[in-house]
């Protein structure tokens, strides 16, 4: 397809009055004017394509940047961060010369449009981020949010998303070791599909997205570039869906049907192997994956981070569709591509490795000693920009924010006033209802579609509190990861809600015996143009940054997904927090399941009357109001230290953190997993209802062998952590003395049948 005339740099300079479709590309008028100002002339079509995708909300973080800075400014003193925020993913020192990189990203909108491919390519994208750091990916996690469990559209979206995550991750050979599945009507038109990946490398293997060394070659390798997903992630992720798209019947498809990408996990598996082989031979100077904004992003970021400039010959990009225009090539979001900077004398070897793995690799340009990014097409220059202005100096907005006027009323609507069960029989019924409710029910139907075993290093996988992977066979060094978020808590109080998410993930990691080290996050919110949403965002970020500082766990990176709303209605503010931990010897890990009858159950931490945003208030009363549980991060830290020490010294045989659903939910899970029941006694000073359903933070239950009881309780006493004996592992029922008995069989049926009967 010949386009006449080609919009070259020269042509642009000579035709200042030509109007380009900046609005269609999602730019605002003042943004366009800034581009003109930066260039000193109007941009060419290709330049406009690059600026428009790179300055989109998705790529530039223009609304969130001013807030995210706190993660750096408030970062705790630490000696674990090897690479901080701003790179493809942060890198953490886990000892013995190993470094771990991890990150969570969203693929929300694409997964609503095409659940299978949207979710699959979400996994593909995050895995490439991890490879780009120089690491071998070793596990994935998938925090998910869907609309109401019984809504017909959930039956379209959820199975597709789960099949997509499994289809891609399983085919790559990455064990899936954790995640979340949450149902809430607020996610009906905006499911949240977040995907996280962990990678492992030696310290010396860390790679950065940096193009340095004039004369070094720019090699594009992986899939051919096609027309799929042009502007996909970028434009798509930046716009709100139409209200009508969520038709009442639920079977309707979104009205908006942009091109989505199709993933090729087999190609990605080859990409992983050939990239790691090239790393091993030290052939790579700098590397960047191609994700949102494709080549526009990879070339401008590599050049911007490096010391020199870059020249790219766009004609050399291998195409799947020969009719693509240069603008489209620059914007294409075809999956499974990477871009490497390689010294000239190593290019042949690099290409050889690619060929070994049947991966197409092409030199498309080189690093120059100037400071411009220049792109040529048919011998003519169509892009001539300062790469920093594209990649790093995009617009920054201080969006107005304001505490919504309904916040007070919401908080005043105290869940403590809801009618409580009056009889033991009612209490028993509510327990059954809780453990069978979609959010509290077993997610096995979903998680068994994921490979947990591949790579042969999985120590713990779901439904454990955290996933755990061995990274050194000799020493038993391992890492653990947990992801958590609670949109209900965060809606009630965004600052506290974000800290509760952090506290829960931190606690989950500690419950397995691993020491929490660092944090990544995925911040899912509504439209930043709504001051109420912006306030939720600002508060959540402030809460998370303050929390990380207090816990001593730096934020290593993350992802922001905005515009998750249908019409005027935003999702609950949903910061998802991932905490990474390390354990010196995985043989000391603590599982969730009860191990042996006769072991003593201890409740660690304080239980208060806290029901705001609780599972109980949702399941029994369909209520959301009041305040979320209080956060005491010093207490969380102490609890974690006790859990870790107890695991290291063999004082406990199982542990389970308490979170949504409260104590009874945790006991039921440990009992069902271990196939062993428990006899519980309501401790003095608590009523049975509060004991079972309160969601006070900073708590866990542990099973202590009798021989360890004195040692364990002494330790808790010495450290001032409340430890209350609440019962014993015993029999094949969960009994609350003086209240009720529920057989494991009855509990299992309630807990395990819900999801299959809704979805299968």
């Amino acid at each position: 397809m010949s386009r006449t005339p080609l919009d070259t740099v020269e042509h642009a300079a000579a035709t200042p009055d030509v109007e380009l479709p900046w609005a269609e590309l999602g730019l605002k008028k003042d943004e366009y004017e800034r581009i003109v100002e930066i260039l000193g002339r109007r941009p060419t079509g290709a330049e406009l394509a690059m600026y428009s995708v790179m300055w989109s909300e998705h790529c530039s973080y223009k609304s969130s940047k001013v807030h995210l800075r706190q993660f750096g400014e408030k970062a705790p003193e630490n000696d674990v961060l090897l690479v901080g925020m701003g790179e493809n993913a942060g890198v953490v020192d886990v000892g013995q010369g190993y470094a771990v990189t991890f990150k969570v990203e969203s693929h929300n909108h694409p997964s609503y449009v095409e659940p299978y491919q949207g979710a699959a390519t979400g996994v593909g994208g995050i895995v490439r981020d991890i490879i780009a750091m120089g690491a071998r990916p070793v596990a994935v996690v998938d925090p998910l949010r869907f609309g109401a469990a019984d809504h017909p559209d959930t039956k379209r979206v959820l199975p597709g998303v789960v099949a997509g995550i499994g289809g891609y991750g399983n085919c790559l050979g990455l064990p899936n070791i954790g995640g979340e599945v949450v149902f809430d009507a607020c996610y009906q038109g905006n499911p949240l599909v977040n995907a996280g990946c962990i990678g492992v490398m030696r310290h010396e293997d860390i790679h950065l997205a940096k193009a340095s060394g004039a004369g070094n070659k720019v090699i594009l390798y992986g899939a051919r570039t096609g027309g799929d997903g042009i502007g996909g992630a970028s434009i798509l992720a930046s716009e709100t869906f139409d209200a009508e798209s969520d038709s009442a019947s639920g079977t309707g498809k979104p009205r908006k049907r942009p091109a989505v990408q199709v993933g090729d996990p087999f190609q990605e598996k080859l990409l992983i192997e050939c990239t790691l082989e090239a790393f091993a031979e030290k052939l790579v100077v700098g590397i960047q994956d191609l994700g949102a904004a494709g080549l526009s992003c990879a070339t401008s970021e590599l050049a911007s981070n490096g010391s020199g400039g870059m020249r790219v010959i766009l004609d050399d990009v291998p195409l799947r569709d020969s009719t693509l225009s240069p603008e489209e090539i620059l914007m294409s979001e075809s999956q499974e591509r990477m871009c490497a900077i390689v010294e000239p004398d190593k290019v042949d070897r690099f290409l050889e490795i690619c060929e070994k793995w049947d991966v197409i690799a092409t030199v498309i340009g080189e690093v120059t000693d100037g400071d411009r990014l220049e792109i040529y097409w048919h011998g003519e220059k169509i892009v001539d920009v300062d790469p920093r202005t594209v990649a790093h100096e995009g617009p920054v907005y201080e969006r107005p924010y304001a505490r919504p006027e309904w916040q007070d009323a919401l908080q005043a609507d105290d869940a403590g006033k809801l009618p409580r069960p009056r009889t033991s029989e009612e209490l028993r019924e509510q327990v059954l209802k809780l453990v069978a409710s979609p959010n509290q029910a077993s997610k096995k139907w979903i998680t068994q579609q994921y490979d947990h075993f591949v790579q042969g290093n999985t120590v713990l996988a779901m439904p454990e509190d955290a996933g755990m992977i061995r990274i050194d066979e000799e020493t038993g060094l391992g890492v653990a990861i947990a992801t958590d978020g609670n949109g209900r808590y965060t809606k009630l109080d965004p600052y506290t809600g974000a800290q509760l998410a952090l506290a829960e993930a931190y606690r989950n990691v500690a419950a397995t015996g691993a020491k929490p080290l660092a944090v990544s996050d995925c911040l899912n919110f509504g439209s930043p143009e709504d001051p109420a949403v912006m306030w939720q965002f600002a508060e959540a970020v402030r809460g998370l940054a303050d929390g990380c500082r207090q816990l001593g766990t730096p934020v290593t990176g993350g992802n922001v997904s905005l515009y998750n709303q249908t019409g005027e209605v935003a999702i609950h503010p949903t910061p998802v927090v991932a905490v990474l931990g390390v354990i010196d010897d995985v043989s000391r890990r603590t599982p969730v399941a009860f191990q042996e009858e006769g072991q003593l159950l201890y409740l660690l931490g304080d239980t208060r009357e806290e029901f705001g945003g609780s599972a109980w208030s949702q399941v029994i009363h369909d209520h959301l109001g009041g305040l979320p549980p209080k956060v005491d991060l010093e207490r969380e830290r102490l609890l974690a230290e006790i859990l870790i020490a107890a695991s290291r010294d063999g004082m406990i045989d199982s542990a389970h953190d308490l979170s949504d659903g409260g104590l009874i939910q945790a006991v039921v899970e440990s009992a069902l997993l271990g196939g062993k029941g428990a006899r519980l006694i309501v401790p003095d000073g608590l009523d049975a209802f509060t004991f079972l359903f309160s969601e006070s933070a900073g708590r866990a239950i542990v099973a202590v062998p009798r021989s360890e009881e004195v040692r364990f309780t002494d330790m808790c006493r010495a450290r001032d952590l409340p430890a209350t004996r609440i019962g014993v592992v015993d029999g094949d029922a969960v009994e609350v003395q003086g209240e009720f008995v529920l057989s494991l069989e009855e509990l299992r049926e309630a807990h395990e049948n819900t999801i299959p009967s809704l979805l299968a």
Partner: protein
């Protein structure tokens, strides 16, 4: 009873990893001269009663809303007569 066939193929601009895998294997099997392979799905529906325009219209709706995801796929619906010479309907 009649058979209606719905063919569902990825849109031409969408990557077809399955077709590509087949195509890349061909030379190894000693096959030359095939420049492109695309792999899609074929549904055979056995319809009770006559396949009139109304029935076809309904099957068309079915294909559009359920058998294919028109974000990434195209489809055709046709009646397959006994001599297997198909008649294009869409």
């Amino acid at each position: 009873m009649a058979r209606v066939v719905v063919d569902v193929m990825l849109k031409p601009e969408i990557l077809d990893p399955q077709g590509q895998a087949v195509q890349r294997a061909l030379p190894r099997l000693g096959f030359e001269g095939i420049s492109d392979v695309r792999q899609g799905k074929r549904f055979e529906l056995e319809v009770d009663g006559p396949v009139d325009d109304a029935a076809l219209a309904r099957i068309h709706d079915l294909a559009e809303s359920f058998l294919a995801n028109t974000v990434i796929e195209d489809f055709t619906v046709r009646v397959e007569s006994d001599d297997a010479v198909a008649e294009a309907v869409k």
